[in-house]
């Protein structure tokens, strides 16, 4: 497999210039993700308006993959419902780990397309956690309002 399948231009771009890379001052939900393997940390901030994600942002330090994954995650999640966010994560997780995928309804399938460049990590088992760290943090934020999750 060519390295360029992993480090596609869109990954390099989001790795260098992450979108929504900021703290939300009064989030309704937040959680930290921590990868004990490399010490990387990411904090995900959410503002929910009822069941809808009104705003989502992140901060932290990590590799190109984890930074790009968090950046792309914030882009696709804005305006989605919590339920849709969970569906996307389940689908994305299955795509990068080779698990079973449930078919997605059309609008979500379009968003999944945007995450497709990240699925190159499937060929790099040691890097899968980099792509899922921010999603795990998102899930923790939705569940617990503020715990630290590990990618273990």
């Amino acid at each position: 497999m060519d390295l360029r399948d992993l480090y596609q231009d869109i990954i390099l771009d989001h790795g260098r210039h992450p979108r929504n890379f900021r703290a939300i001052e009064h989030p309704t939900h937040t959680a930290q993700g921590h990868n004990p393997l490399c010490g990387d940390r990411v904090t995900v901030f959410l503002t929910l308006d009822g069941e809808q994600i009104a705003d989502v942002a992140f901060q932290g330090r990590g590799c190109a993959i984890s930074t790009a994954a968090a950046s792309l995650m914030t882009e696709v999640l804005k305006g989605k419902t919590v339920e849709e966010a969970r569906e996307l994560f389940a689908h994305f997780h299955a795509r990068v780990t080779g698990g079973n995928e449930n078919p997605l309804p059309a609008p979500l399938a379009d968003e999944m397309e945007r995450l497709e460049p990240l699925t190159g990590v499937k060929a790099y088992p040691a890097r899968v956690k980099c792509a899922t760290l921010s999603w795990h943090a998102l899930e923790a934020a939705l569940q617990t309002d503020g715990a630290t999750v590990k990618t273990e």
Partner: protein, 420 residues
Amino acid sequence: MTGAGPKILAPGEQRLPGGFDPRRLRQEFPIFASNPDLVFLDSGASAQKPASVIDRVADYYRTDYANVHRGVYRLSARSTDLFEQARVKVQRFLNAADAREVVFVRGATEAINLVAQSWGGAFLEAGDEILISELEHHSNIVPWQLLRDRVGIRLVVAPIDATGGLDVAAFAARLSPRTRLVAVTHLANATGALVPIETVVELAHRAGARVLVDGCQAAPRLQVDVQALGCDFYAFSGHKTYGPTGIGVLWGRHELLAAMPPWQGGGEMILNVTFEKTLYQEPPHRFEAGTPDISGAIGLGTALDFIEELGRDNILEHEEALTGYGVDRLSRIPGLQLVGAGQRRLGILSFDLEGIHPHDVATVLDRHHVAVRAGHHCAQPLLDKLGLGATTRASLGVYNDERDIDALAAAIEAAQEMFR
């Protein structure tokens, strides 16, 4: 062995540092035959194994295997002899006064835990201090924290100086009348900084403290003479000295080991057991409860033979020359910052690449068949101090040469090109 050891040079042939050719020596390591493109620069995590070690372990199981210290039959006696001969090889390797000072354990981590639990549990009390350094691996931090939480000792940390070496003056200033033990690395795994153990021992002993040395990175690279060093405990792992995994060594002064209580109970470590009272073996068997890693110990003995045949001064000369070449070559890469290793660096090149995360570096390097470690190297407090979350680390072994460093440098430049 073929191709190793000092040899007579053909006319016009240049003597290589250490007097051996790593490329030729590589033929003794089957991993390179199975992975011909491999540029292995991760011996600091675990070294590859020569065929002599692999074959010895297999042959032992084929021809000499039985449990030790139990059977009356000849096969068991032979197995016991081989196991105890391995102990004598370790004794010679460390220039220890007595083979009874050599305790077989799973690795350096277990060795340090043994001292913490047995010696620390028996002789330390609340308010006593253990002095470690900022250079330590987690395995020389966490066992003492567990002891702290159990007994109430204080854990004191000696800092590094601006160059990345142990700050000896600051270390001396942290010794107190309550310091009972100094536990330091001989060679820092994350940076390659060599610690002046003789000085540390002299200062510690003057303060009335014992000294434990974590010799994981030093044992495969340096002449280690525990009597000359003057320390009280010395720990190393077999798998970093070209031996099997699952075996390691705790060396301790006999009078210390003899005064220490057992830390695990079971067979092998007892003299007599009744339900009322059990009498324990003398060291080292007191600390070797259960059937030991017999094949591991024998394989370790063979690995130490390999090192001795190559010559420890030769290995040191080789590693010093290659470390120097690596520092020189990597320093010429713009945007690459070598992590400081004090006055003397050996065998380990840890670096930061501007704007590129070590995980991304290691992935690109892997695609160029260059195997390095990326992360915190189980030394998070040190990396925090250095202001780095992670680094990329290349570590050297006897089979590495300048071509490996060149391949590393070329792969780094390819990573820079990709992430430009």
